[in-house]
């Protein structure tokens, strides 16, 4: 028993040594787009940890010990919300033993609270698959939403770290200007995409469709979160003859196989889109994310 305890203390002493002393605001970003946004707005005043990568399905993350440990010492958690992280974030929050980042505290930020939600269901039943009662949570596919979230996040960062408030404000103003310019450019670039019909793998693009005026004719998943059956795929092929789509799109984290299968049979391109920062080599930051997304869509639609 004694040896067990002394072993424990020894371990503790070792771990305690690894704690670095730092003053920066520690931010736990649930998805890469928010990690990138916090870096834009926080610069050197923040220490950002991004909990997931572009190759992970943000619906299905395991509440790993490393995430709990990181959340324990965070000053701010930035989540998408709208139940995107319902399968893992509540456990992390509860296990983190960190009062500062509990929902209702300033240290908890949900991006979906600051944009207009699309596809809010009027009724929810699991027969409909993986539905989100608060609406489609993939808000980052519309670049305009990034600015809306940035405005709110800027205020939150200033509130949590008032000594650096002017720095946050300056970085936000700078970012907003660059973003407005980029939005003009992207919207100009995307004009030929208006009305282009496509097939998506998952119902993950509602905001992008809305933003760029694209039209989703069907999804490979028969219901959100339900993998495609052979019967559903052949149904899509039949539908393609009557209502031809120009391309099949899928996110970097999704299995390309079903999308490529369908695209080959239909004789249209299958396009991998980054979905978030880091999803493709070109989508290294937030600007690259939309540059690359629009570029890939234009290429696939023959423009």
């Amino acid at each position: 028993m004694k040896s067990l305890l002394s072993f424990g203390f020894l371990l503790l002493a070792l771990l305690a040594n690894t704690v670095p002393a730092e003053a920066a605001l520690r931010v736990f970003a649930c998805e890469p787009e928010w990690g990138a946004l916090v870096s834009e707005l926080g610069g050197s005043d923040v220490d950002v940890y991004t909990a997931t990568s572009a190759l992970q399905d943000p619906h299905h993350i395991q509440a790993r010990p490393s995430l709990i440990a990181r959340m324990r010492r965070s000053d701010l958690v930035v989540a998408t919300g709208a139940q995107l992280e319902i399968g893992w974030l509540p456990v992390l929050l509860r296990q983190s033993a960190n009062p500062a980042i509990q929902p209702s505290q300033p240290g908890y930020f949900e991006a979906a609270g600051f944009v207009a939600m699309l596809e809010v269901p009027t009724s929810v039943d699991r027969v409909q698959g993986d539905v989100h009662p608060a609406g489609n949570p993939h808000i980052q596919t519309d670049a305009r939403n990034i600015l809306r979230v940035a405005a709110a996040l800027n205020q939150r960062l200033q509130m949590l770290d008032p000594t650096h408030a002017p720095d946050y404000q300056q970085r936000y103003t700078d970012f907003a200007n660059r973003w407005q310019a980029a939005l003009q450019r992207w919207q100009q670039m995307a004009v030929p995409l208006r009305g282009v019909k496509l097939i998506a793998y998952h119902k993950g693009w509602a905001y992008m469709l809305n933003w760029l005026g694209l039209q989703e004719v069907s999804t490979i998943e028969p219901l959100p979160g339900v993998p495609a059956s052979a019967a559903h795929l052949s149904e899509l092929l039949a539908k393609q003859k009557m209502q031809p789509a120009t391309m099949v799109i899928y996110a970097a984290y999704q299995d390309p196989q079903p999308s490529e299968w369908l695209a080959t049979r239909a004789g249209i391109p299958a396009v991998k889109l980054p979905f978030t920062v880091g999803g493709t080599d070109q989508a290294g930051d937030l600007f690259g994310l939309y540059d690359d997304t629009i570029h890939r869509l234009l290429q696939a639609s023959g423009h």
Partner: protein, 450 residues
């Protein structure tokens, strides 16, 4: 519009008020009706307002080519939290669980030579049957507390309170306190409800040493270290009436334990957690049972259990959705010393040393399908006057073991089927077992721990 209606209502209320004060029973009733009407009106107004707001937002979102300047600036931070599962109601879920089991030997004769078993160490009966259905309620109580209760409805009727605890959310310094009835944090699998498992039943070692699940009424304190490597220390003080304890010794605080967990990631694809736990109980008149429910003996003394556990998970790029792999093992060492009374005999001295463990590997080879293998062994060395030939403490020089193979299919996170084959050599016969199980989850689906 809201103001207009209110302006109109106000005089009505003024007229109504003195009348109500004159106070016959009828007028108070009228007042109630009026209040109810006002409330309903208010609801209607609120609804209309939200609809109006929504329709105001719509055009901004629906005009794709508009420059975003105004839209972005008019979006005032609303700070709405949208993740609460059911506004003020607790999350409610129910797990329905049924199975068909076939045994090549009569399960009534199940025993593990050398072990005085608790009442839930067996495998149940042959044939069709529903297992315990679990009803779970959980919610944040307020800004400081979270509460969780799981009731199980056994097929024989009645209600068992499996868990009913509250937990702190906002203690400083990485501390979390849990109090009530809860599954103990010792070992790895013990804290989970069976619907989380990858196999239909718990391992032979878990059933022998922890009576399938070790729970208790009491208090738990955990401390999470402020380090980037996950490190957690915990301790529990429990009533001590649950196997391997018994009789609620020491004025109802007969069991205590400590545990430590360490964990981390290796690259993007691997993550792990390891633990060490120590459980000490003072059984007082602890009965042991055979698989028909008959008492095989009574134990008074001390029981100590050491558990080492490791779980390793692999998911390509940290994305477990399509394929993933999990390895899990727990090793047990138990020491018991005291007086054991075989059924119908007087108490006599008994000292036992027990070892055991299991290891399992589960591979999800494609979305929805997984296959797993588990092997478990236990071993006892008992001495003392109570160890008479033919009694439960007689090991027969035998090493009980069991190997299981499982195939699982999940249509979604909420529906699951399992087919399990086991070669059970818990007693000196080879019992071939087949079990088919369904699990159906309705209601809110709480997130699972690692």
């Amino acid at each position: 519009m809201r103001k207009q209606i209110l302006a109109w209502l106000l005089p009505c209320m003024l007229v109504a008020a003195p009348v109500a004060q004159a106070a016959s029973v009828e007028t108070t009733d009228e007042l109630k009706t009026l209040k109810e009407q006002v409330r309903l009106l208010q609801q209607k107004i609120d609804k209309m307002e939200t609809r109006l707001q929504a329709s105001e937002k719509q055009p901004a979102a629906a005009a794709p080519a508009e420059p975003v300047v105004q839209a972005a600036e008019s979006a005032q931070p609303q700070n709405t939290t949208r993740s609460d599962a059911n506004v003020f109601n607790p999350q409610i879920s129910m797990v329905l669980n049924g199975s068909y089991r076939a045994f090549s030997h009569n399960p009534a004769t199940f025993a593990v030579p050398g072990f005085a078993l608790g009442d839930s160490a067996g495998l149940g009966d042959r044939g069709f049957g529903i297992n315990e259905s679990e009803l779970n309620f959980a919610a944040n109580v307020d800004n400081l507390f979270y509460a969780d209760s799981t009731l199980s409805l056994p097929r024989t009727g009645g209600i068992n309170v499996e868990e009913a605890y509250f937990q702190t959310l906002a203690l400083p310094a990485g501390l979390t306190v849990k109090a009530g009835r809860f599954f103990s944090g010792i070992g790895y699998i013990n804290q989970f409800h069976p619907h989380h498992d990858d196999f239909i039943d718990r391992s032979l070692a878990n059933r022998v040493f922890l009576n399938s699940t070790f729970a208790g009424d009491g208090i738990q304190v955990r401390w999470l270290a402020p380090t980037d490597t996950y490190f957690e220390l915990g301790s529990e003080l429990l009533r001590g009436d649950r196997y391997p304890g018994g009789g609620a010794a020491l004025r109802g605080a007969g069991s205590w334990d400590v545990f430590a967990h360490v964990g981390g990631d290796v690259g993007f694809s691997n993550s792990w957690r390891a633990g060490l736990s120590w459980l000490s109980t003072k059984p007082l008149g602890r009965s042991s049972f055979d698989n028909t429910g008959a008492v095989t003996g009574t134990f008074d003394g001390n029981s100590q259990l050491l558990i080492g556990d490791l779980v390793w998970k692999w998911a390509p790029n940290g994305n477990p959705y399509d394929t993933n792999f999990k390895f899990q093992t727990e090793l047990f060492q138990q020491q018991e010393k005291g007086m054991f009374a075989n059924a119908g005999s007087p108490a006599a001295s008994y000292s036992g040393r027990h070892w055991g463990g299991y290891a399992e590997a589960v591979y999800q080879f494609t979305h929805g399908w997984d296959i797993g293998i588990r092997h478990s062994e236990v071993f006892a060395r008992n001495t003392g006057a109570a160890v008479v030939p033919g009694s439960v403490l007689d090991t027969l020089g035998f090493r009980p073991k069991r190997t299981s193979l499982v195939l699982g299919y999940a249509n979604s996170e909420f529906s699951r089927f399992r087919l399990q084959f086991s070669r059970d050599q818990s007693r000196p016969v080879t019992d071939n077992q087949v079990a088919l199980q369904y699990l159906m989850l309705i209601g809110a689906h709480g997130a699972h721990q690692f």
